[in-house]
C-alpha cells in the first residue's frame, strides 16, 4: 500500500514537470530563448537515456553521443534532401556532394527522401548499432570499466568514419543548410514555439515511457542485474539479453534526441558524436541523480542552464569551466545520489516528522522488531 502511494506521488511529480515545461512558451515570447530552451530539453532527453542504462542497469555508456549523433545525421540527411531542388545546381545532389565530385546520390541516401523512413531510421539505426555492440559486450560478459571504454572507443571510430567519408557525410563541416522539418502539414521553425512544443512533448513521452519500463518487472530485473549480476543469472534470466534490450532502448531514445537536436540546431556535425558532449551527459546525470529519470533530466537542464548563463556573461568568460568543474566535484562529494537523492532524503524527513515522532526514531524501531522476530 505504501508502494502504491509512493509511486502515485512519483507519477504526479513527473506530470508536474511535463506540464511545467509545456507551459514555458506561454510566458516567453523570445525566439532566441525558446530555441535555447528547446536545446536544453533535448539534452534532458539524452540524460534520461543514459539514466536508463547507467542508473538502472549499471552500464556506464561513455559513448551515449554516438547514438545521439547517428539520430541527428538521419534527420539531417532527410532535411538536406528537402533542400535539394532549391539549392543545388546540378543533378539534384546535396551541395557538399557536388563539391566532392560525387555524381550520383549514394544508395543509402536515397530512402531519406521519405520523412517517415528518416524518422524510423533515426531511432532504429542507433538502436541496432547499440544492440550489435551490446551483443558483443554482454555476451562476452564485458562489464564495468571495460564496457565503458569500449563504448568510448566505438564512438571515436564512428566519429572518425563520419569525418573521413566527407563525400557522403560532409566531413568536418557536417550537414548544413537544411530545410525546415515538416510533418503532417506542420512545419517546425527552429526559432518558434512549435519546435519547442515538439521537443517538450517528445521529452514528456520519453519520460513516461522510461518510467513505465523501470516500473515493469523487466525494470526491476535490470536493477537487480546492476546489484548482483550473477544472482540474477542463476534464477534463469538471460542477463545479456536484458542488458542488450535496455542498451538498445537507451540508444533509440538518444537517437530521437539527436533527430530533435538537428531540427533545433538546423545542422548536424561530427561534434554531436564528440567526446566532450558524451562526457557532459555523464556529468548531467551524475549531478541530477542517475537512479532517477526525472533527476537526470533536471540535472541536464540545471547544468546546461548554468553553463549557458555563465559562458554568456562577461565576468565568467574565462572561468566558467572551472566553476562547472567545481560544482561537479561538490555534487559528487556531498550528494552521491545527486539532486534527486537529496530531494528524496528531504521529503522522507518531512513525511516522517508529522507522525509525531522524532525523525530518527521511526525506522530503527521498525527494524528492531523484525530483528527480534528473526532471532
Amino acid at each position: 500500500m505504501l508502494l502504491t502511494g509512493k509511486s502515485a506521488q512519483q507519477t504526479l511529480l513527473y506530470l508536474a514537470f511535463c506540464i511545467a515545461i509545456l507551459l514555458v512558451p506561454l510566458f516567453l515570447d523570445d525566439a532566441f530563448l525558446l530555441n535555447k530552451y528547446s536545446r536544453y530539453l533535448v539534452f534532458a532527453m539524452l540524460a534520461v537515456a543514459l539514466s536508463l542504462s547507467w542508473g538502472y542497469a549499471g552500464i556506464l555508456n561513455l559513448g551515449q553521443a554516438t547514438t545521439f549523433g547517428l539520430g541527428s545525421y538521419c534527420m539531417a540527411m532527410a532535411l538536406k534532401l528537402g533542400t535539394v531542388p532549391v539549392h543545388t545546381g546540378s543533378e539534384g545532389l546535396p551541395d557538399f556532394m557536388v563539391w566532392n565530385n560525387v555524381t550520383e546520390l549514394p544508395w543509402f541516401w536515397a530512402p531519406f527522401h521519405s520523412t517517415t523512413f528518416a524518422l524510423v531510421a533515426g531511432i532504429l539505426v542507433p538502436a541496432t548499432f547499440a544492440a550489435l555492440l551490446g551483443w558483443f559486450m554482454f555476451r562476452g560478459r564485458v562489464t564495468g570499466v571495460y564496457a565503458a571504454i569500449i563504448t568510448l572507443a566505438a564512438m571515436v571510430v564512428v566519429n572518425l568514419v563520419i569525418i573521413d567519408q566527407q563525400r557522403f557525410t560532409g566531413g568536418f563541416n557536417g550537414i548544413t543548410d537544411l530545410a525546415q522539418f515538416e510533418v503532417a502539414g506542420l512545419s517546425f521553425d527552429a526559432y518558434s514555439s512549435s519546435t519547442y512544443y515538439l521537443v517538450a512533448l517528445c521529452l514528456s513521452a520519453v519520460l513516461f515511457l522510461s518510467l513505465a519500463i523501470t516500473r515493469s518487472k523487466t525494470g526491476m530485473i535490470l536493477q537487480a542485474i546492476r546489484d548482483q549480476e550473477d544472482r540474477v543469472r542463476f534464477f534463469g534470466y538471460d542477463v545479456a539479453l536484458y542488458k542488450i534490450f535496455i542498451f538498445a532502448v537507451s540508444a533509440g531514445i538518444a537517437g530521437l534526441a539527436g533527430m530533435l537536436y538537428t531540427i533545433v540546431m538546423e545542422f548536424a556535425s561530427p561534434t554531436f558524436l564528440g567526446v566532450p558532449l558524451s562526457l557532459s551527459v555523464v556529468i548531467w546525470v551524475a549531478v541530477g541523480g542517475r537512479q532517477s529519470l526525472l533527476g537526470a533530466a533536471l540535472g541536464a537542464l540545471i547544468v546546461t542552464g548554468v553553463q549557458g548563463a555563465l559562458s554568456e556573461s562577461e565576468t565568467f568568460l574565462e572561468s566558467w569551466m572551472l566553476i562547472m568543474g567545481g560544482l561537479f566535484v561538490l555534487t559528487v562529494l556531498f550528494l552521491p545520489k545527486g539532486i534527486a537523492g537529496a530531494f528524496e532524503m528531504l521529503t522522507a524527513r518531512f513525511q516522517r516528522q508529522p507522525a509525531g515522532q522524532p525523525a530518527t526514531a521511526a525506522k530503527p524501531g521498525g527494524e528492531a522488531i523484525t530483528h527480534g522476530e528473526g532471532a
Partner: protein
C-alpha cells in the same frame, strides 16, 4: 543412498582443474528425487566446486552431469536454472538496493523473457504466495525495507526465500547457516526439514550440529573425490573418513 526414489541428479566421473590444480577429480554422485543430501568434507575437498559444476558456474573438464535424464554440463547458467536447479551461494547474495518484496518478485522467475516481463507491473507473484514465503523465513515485517538493512542471518534467509520463490526441483545450498547464531541455525534446520520431500536438496555444511539435525544421507568428499556415503552413524565410524578429518579435530569439530 536411498533406493526408494528415482535418480534425479547424477555426476559421472566429473573432473575439473584450474591451472593444474585438480579441484574435483572423478567425482561420482547420485541424488534421488526429493532427497535431502548433505555434502561434507574437510576444507578444500571440492564441495563448493561440485555445486559450481552442477549449476554451471564452472564447466567440467571431463565427465558428465545428468539432471532428470538430460545432460546439463554444456548448458549455460540460465538454461540450467530454467531446467529446475536453484543455487544458494556461500556469501549471501541478494539485491541490496531493492526491497525484500522486490527481491522476492525477482526470485519468482517462471517467466524469464524480456518482453513478457516488460508488460508486467508490480511483479508477477500473487501477494498471498509472497507473504507466505516471507512468513516462512520470518521476514513478514521487513517486506518493504531495503535488503541492505537486513542482518546477516536475515540476508541468508532472504536468499533462501528467493530460491523457494524460484521453486526449482533441485536446490543447492552452500553453507546456508554460515554466520548464523545458534538459534537462527535451529530455525533453519526446522525450515529444511519442512522442505524435505517437496524439493531435492543438496546442502554443503560445516556445522555438524546442523547436519545432525537434517541429514538422512551424507556424502563425504575428500581431495575432489567421493570418499564415503551413508548415514551419519555409518560415516562417523568409517576409518577412511576419520583419516581424512585427521588434524582438523575429527568430524564432530569440522
Amino acid at each position: 543412498m536411498s533406493d526408494d526414489g528415482e535418480i534425479q541428479l547424477a555426476l559421472n566421473d566429473v573432473s575439473v582443474s584450474f591451472g593444474g590444480f585438480v579441484a574435483v577429480a572423478g567425482l561420482d554422485l547420485a541424488v534421488g528425487k526429493g532427497e535431502l543430501r548433505c555434502l561434507i568434507g574437510p576444507n578444500g575437498a571440492g564441495k563448493t566446486t561440485a555445486l559450481d559444476l552442477i549449476c554451471g558456474k564452472t564447466q567440467a573438464t571431463s565427465g558428465e552431469i545428468r539432471f532428470e535424464g538430460r545432460s546439463i554440463d554444456k548448458l549455460k547458467e540460465y538454461e540450467i536454472a530454467r531446467a529446475g536447479i536453484g543455487r544458494k551461494f556461500q556469501v549471501p547474495s541478494v539485491f541490496r538496493e531493492l526491497t525484500v518484496r522486490e527481491n522476492l518478485h525477482i526470485g519468482q522467475s517462471r517467466q524469464t523473457g524480456v518482453l513478457a516481463n516488460l508488460v508486467r507491473f508490480g511483479g508477477s507473484m500473487d501477494d498471498d504466495e509472497l507473504e507466505r514465503l516471507a512468513e516462512l523465513v520470518g521476514l513478514s515485517d521487513a517486506l518493504d525495507s531495503a535488503a541492505a538493512h537486513l542482518s546477516h542471518g536475515q540476508t541468508q534467509w532472504l536468499e533462501i526465500a528467493l530460491i523457494l520463490a524460484q521453486d526449482p526441483a533441485l536446490i543447492l545450498m552452500d553453507e546456508p547457516t554460515a554466520g548464523m547464531t545458534g538459534q537462527e541455525t535451529g530455525k533453519t534446520a526446522e525450515l529444511f526439514n519442512r522442505l524435505r520431500g517437496q524439493h531435492t536438496l543438496i546442502v554443503v555444511e560445516h556445522d555438524m550440529g546442523f547436519v545432525r539435525d537434517i541429514a538422512e544421507t551424507i556424502s563425504v568428499m575428500h581431495q575432489g573425490k567421493l570418499l564415503a556415503e551413508g548415514s551419519l552413524k555409518e560415516i562417523s565410524s568409517d576409518p577412511q573418513v576419520r583419516e581424512a578429518y585427521l588434524g582438523s579435530g575429527g568430524i564432530g569439530h569440522a
